[in-house]
Every structure is written in C-alpha cells, then in structure tokens.
C-alpha cells in the first residue's frame, strides 16, 4: 500500500513539474515581462536593473528552478493589472470559490448518487424515466444558460434570491465566509445549483448504470435468496460495490467543479478566483494565469490522491493485498 501511494505521489510530482514548466514558459515567453512591468516611461538602466533583479539574464533551467522554488513558497510575482502580489490576490479570492465549490460538490455528489440509486432501483418507474429524460437535456444545457435561466426565474420574475455577489461576509481568522449570514447563504443558492447541476447529472447517470450492473451480480441474487430486506440488498450490498468505479469519476468531477466555477462566477459576478482568472485572460495578466494554473493543478493532484486513498478505504482487496 505504501509503495502504491509513493508511486502515485511520484507521478503527481511529475505532473506538477510539467504544469510548472508550462506555467513558467507562459510567464517567460508570452509578452515581455519587463515591458509589462515598467510601462512606457523607462530607461535602459531600469530595464537592465529589472532584468537582473528578476533573474531574466540567467540560464533557462536556473530561472525555471527559481520559479518552482518561488511557486512552492506561494510567491507568484506581481499582477500586471493590479500591481499587487498574485499570492495576496489569490488568498483574498480563494474562500469565495472554495465555499461555492464545496456546496456545489456536496450537492452534486449527494443528489447525484441518491437519484442514481433511485432510478436504478425503480428502473421502470415513471419518475425514473422522467428523471432520465431530463438528465439528457441537462447534459446539453450549457452551464451559463442554466445560470441565466435561474436568475431570470428567481431574481427577475420571483424576486426571491440575489442574482449576483456573495451577500454579506464575515471574516473568520483571515477567511471571509458567507456561511454565517442570511444574505450570504441566500446568495449561495443559485450559483451552487448552477455549478453543481452538470456534475450531478453525470454522477447520476454513472451511478445508475453501475448500479444496474451490480444488481445483476450473483451475490445480489444470493443476498435476496437469503431473505435479506430490500433495503439491505440495495444499500449495503449493491451501493457499496457501485461506489468503487463511481469514486474515480466523482473525484474528477469534483476537480472540474473548481474549473467550471469560472463560468458560474462570471454569470453571478461571484468574487472568486475563477472570475479573477477570466479577467486575467482578457487583460493578458500572465502572472495571475500562471498562478491559477499551478493552484488548480495542485488541487487536481490532491483530489486524485484522495481518490486513491478512498479506494483503499472501500475495497478490502487492495488494502489487504497491499499489506502482505
């Protein structure tokens, strides 16, 4: 088991190094950092000084290693557009995105698995068929249209929920949270549904097909033949076996929630890192783009590792084979 985890960590580090190379190349070769930082009125002395200061006169590999070292310490340079350290800006913006992603992810996983199980058990029921048909429409609906539709219904027509922003936030030890105020919670509703809907649909369809497959297995038949209640057969025996393949995809989906937050944050003007990233692209703010890329990669890699660990928790075959 330890060997397996170590191997995965090693692979993760490789991925991060590659992403780091991409991020660094962007930083180094897209546009001229010096020009971006100094603007129009500059002297050759300024340019030379900054070039040395930034280490741009050193060999590529040295610069790359320095970049990695800085990135590891959370130092991503200064935003071309805001003139402030990228790390500070990201730290301000991260809580908004993480809270939104956490609520959407939980929603997508819980409702997705619940509806997947329901539609698998009641395979031929009317409700199941309606849910399955709706889910196909759900897959075709672009996220931003869902958001606009929700804003139109609940903000414009019904005037029930806010259409933009986070509402009131409270600072808890350097973390601005919207969980503690009424307006903060209300503001979370529409964005988190928008963000979670697509992943929810995918998880639901996957759980359903895996569950139908598991319900055909001999051990389910044998559990029935032993007179176990349907509840035990469906949830204790079938669901647990369904989860093994579902976890991989769910993990990836949770990862993409953070990326897809870009869209939702734009629709709802949600002040998170996604909105920051989109603005960075519009204004070619390379340090912010590079930092965002690194941040997202670290998250994805972490999620993949957690998924691997969950495998061990659920499947005894891996756990015990690894022990020997």
């Amino acid at each position: 088991m330890i060997a397996f985890i170590l191997r995965r960590v090693f692979q993760s580090v490789i991925v991060l190094l590659i992403v780091g190379l991409v991020a660094f190349s962007m930083f180094r070769f897209v546009g001229d950092p010096i020009e971006n930082m100094l603007g129009q009125e500059r002297t050759q002395a300024d340019v030379d000084r900054l070039r040395t200061q930034l280490g741009l006169d050193q060999p590529f590999i040295v610069q790359y290693l320095k970049f990695l070292g800085n990135a590891a310490q959370g130092n991503f340079g200064v935003s071309y557009r805001q003139g402030r350290p990228v790390a500070t800006i990201l730290a301000e913006r991260a809580p908004a995105t993480l809270e939104l992603a956490a609520v959407s992810g939980t929603l997508a996983v819980l409702v997705g698995i619940g509806m997947g199980v329901f539609t698998a058990i009641r395979r031929n029921g009317v409700a199941s068929n309606v849910i399955m048909s709706l889910s196909l429409v759900g897959v075709s609906l672009p996220t931003f249209l869902i958001g606009i539709l929700l804003i139109y219904l609940f903000s414009v027509e019904l005037d029930l929920l806010p259409s933009f922003g986070r509402g009131d936030t409270v600072m808890v030890g350097g973390w601005s949270t919207g969980f503690l105020t009424k307006s903060g919670l209300l503001a979370l509703i529409l964005p988190s549904i928008t963000l979670g809907l697509y992943q929810m649909t995918l998880i639901m369809r996957l759980v359903r097909s895996e569950m139908l497959e598991v319900l055909r297995q001999d051990y389910i038949r044998f559990a029935r033949a032993r007179g176990l209640p349907e509840r035990v057969v469906n949830f204790r025996h079938a669901l647990k076996n369904t989860l093994v393949p579902v976890i991989t995809v769910t993990g990836l989906q949770v990862g993409s929630i953070i990326a897809f937050a870009i869209i939702t944050e734009t629709v709802f003007q949600w002040p998170g890192v996604g909105l920051l990233f989109i603005n960075a692209i519009q204004f070619v703010d390379i340090p912010v783009m590079a930092a965002y890329l690194m941040l997202i990669s670290v998250m994805f890699v972490a999620i993949n590792l957690i998924v691997d660990l969950l495998y061990f928790a659920i499947d005894p075959r891996l756990r015990i084979d690894g022990r020997h």
Binding site: G31, F144, I262, I278, I281, N304
Partner: protein
C-alpha cells in the same frame, strides 16, 4: 416514408460513400425507425442551411453600419417601432440590429468554429492515435502520457489557457481579427485526446490482423498501411466521437464567447449574443437574450441526440 422526404436525403448527405456501403441497410432502417434521430437531424440540417445561406435569408446585414438605424433600437418582436414604424420578427437590440439577422450570422460563426475545431481535433487525434498504435515505443509513451495529463484537466480550462496564451502572443491590433482562429485552435487542441485514444485502441487491434500483416509482407510502408488499411476500419467510432465532440465544441465556443474570451463583439457568435443579451435581462428587453439562447440550446441538444443515437446505432465499444 412518403411523408418524410428529408430523412433519406439527410442520410446520404451524412454518409461518406465508403461507410454507406458498410452499414447502409441496417443503418438506414434504424434511422427511419427513430423519430428522435429524424427530428434531431432535421433540426441540425435546418440550422446548418440557415447558417450557410444567412446572407440570403437575413433581412439586414447586421455588420453593415449603413443599413442600421439607431432609432430602431430596442424594438420588441413583432411590433412596429415607435419612431420608424419598422417591424422586426424577433425584435432589435440596443443598436437597432435585427435580432433574427444577428442570430443567423451568429449561428454561422458558432457552426464554423464548431466544425473547424472538431476537424482540427480529429486530424490531430487520428494522426497521433495511428502513430501511437502503429509505431508503439517511445512515440506511443509520449503521446499517451501527454493525453493522460491533458485529460486530467477539463477541456474548457485547457481551451481558455490556450486562448489566453495566444492572445498574449498576438499583437493587440490583430487580436480581434485573429480571435476566431485562435478560438478554433484552442478548442481543437483541447479536444484531440478522445480521438487519439479510440484510434490507438482500434489500431492496436487491427495491426495484428492478417490483412495488415499481409500488406506488410508485400512491402507496403507504415504510412501506406495506416492510411489504406487501418484508417477505414476506425472510421465509425471516429464518426461517433466527432458528433459528440461537435456538441461539446459548440458549447465550449459559446461558453468562451459568453465569458468574453472568445468571438469578439465585431464578429458575434451565439455565445457573444447571449453575453450581450444578459445585460438587458433586468431592463425588460428579454428578446435580445431569449432567442439566441433558444437557438443555441436547440443546436446543442439536437447534435447531442444525434451523437447518442449514432453511438447506439453503430454500437462501437467506446466506453
């Protein structure tokens, strides 16, 4: 099927000659039996034709300032404008542009970007997949590793990054002109992995079959074998992926344009139009937002349904 003259015409339009020989009869039968497939294909066909013939159909050219009258701004659908008395089917936007015309031209851009991006992804993916499957060795390792790493990230994020970098490289004065091409490259590069994986898998299977061995024995070279013998055999899964990718590419383009990192306002696609329309959501000019949205949804849903149906009909083992 006399009530329905289109389906057969549609079918033939879809079928490259070689494939039609392979599964013409079963395929055509399954198609006629599926109202969903007929409906979806009809919707796609209508939209594609509307996009192609947009300059002939559109009542106005929304990009020719000479035909615009600012006085016509914000005319609701179907009612005459208070100042000019002009009537517009689907209303006008803030600058007096006919919404119906902008949708037709927007559709043109959306479909052009979608088809071109898929074509690019297909060419890259199929080529790399063939090489990885046929050559093996380090070429395969590199190609498939890169594919794996890229697959870890959502395609839309990859497309955004490529778009951002390309924008940084392009001189500012060319940015608007280049935007459409950059968009095509960004979406195409973000979407080649599926093609490469399927083609590689199929190539590995075909490579060891006797007819390929025979071709090798009579002295055919690698590229010739791949093109003449292996490629035709992987066409039907590629067709299915291409259809599903088309839906994804159209949605990706709309999303990027909606976010303001895609088609520029001077060349608005459906996504750009929705971005513009969203601004009028609260002020009551709903038509500027609604009609482009419905068009996009119809297009995405119809292509998705076609892809779903194709996958079931051709039944390649995709997953």
């Amino acid at each position: 099927m006399t009530d329905f003259p289109q389906p057969d015409a549609v079918k033939q339009a879809q079928d490259p000659g070689r494939m039609s020989r392979l599964w013409a009869s079963d395929f055509a039968y399954a198609f006629r039996r599926s109202p969903v497939a007929i409906g979806a294909t009809a919707v796609v066909l209508v939209l594609v034709l509307a996009a192609i013939f947009a300059p002939l159909i559109a009542p106005h050219d929304p990009f020719n300032p000479a035909t615009l009258n600012l006085m016509n701004g914000f005319t609701p659908p179907g009612t005459p404008n208070a100042f000019t008395g002009d009537t517009f089917w689907l209303g006008t936007d803030d600058q007096g542009r006919d919404v119906f015309s902008t949708i037709l031209y927007g559709l043109r851009i959306s479909l052009f970007v979608g088809f071109s991006a898929v074509l690019l992804a297909l060419i890259i993916g199929v080529t790399l997949g063939l090489i990885a499957g046929y050559a093996g060795g380090w070429a395969e390792t590199i190609i498939m590793r890169v594919a794996d790493v890229q697959l870890t990230f959502p395609a839309i994020l990859v497309a955004m990054l490529i778009f951002g970098v390309a924008k940084g490289i392009t001189p500012p004065e060319y940015r608007n002109q280049m935007a459409i091409w950059v968009l095509i490259i960004a979406i195409g590069l973000s979407d080649w992995v599926q093609f490469a994986r399927v083609v590689r898998g199929a190539t590995l299977v075909e490579k060891n079959k006797e007819y390929v061995q025979a071709a090798r024995l009579i002295g055919r070279t690698g590229p010739a074998i791949m093109l003449r013998h292996i490629l035709p055999n992987v066409l039907s899964p590629v067709l299915v992926i291409a259809t599903i990718s088309l839906a994804l590419a159209i949605i990706a383009e709309a999303t990027l344009s909606f976010l303001g990192v895609g088609a520029p306002p001077t060349q608005p696609s459906l996504g750009t139009l929705i971005r513009i329309g969203q601004g009028f959501l609260f002020s009551g000019e709903w038509w500027i937002l609604l009609f482009p949205s419905i068009t996009l949804l119809a297009l995405a849903l119809a292509v998705n349904l076609m892809g779903d149906w194709l996958r079931d009909a051709l039944n390649p083992r995709l997953k």
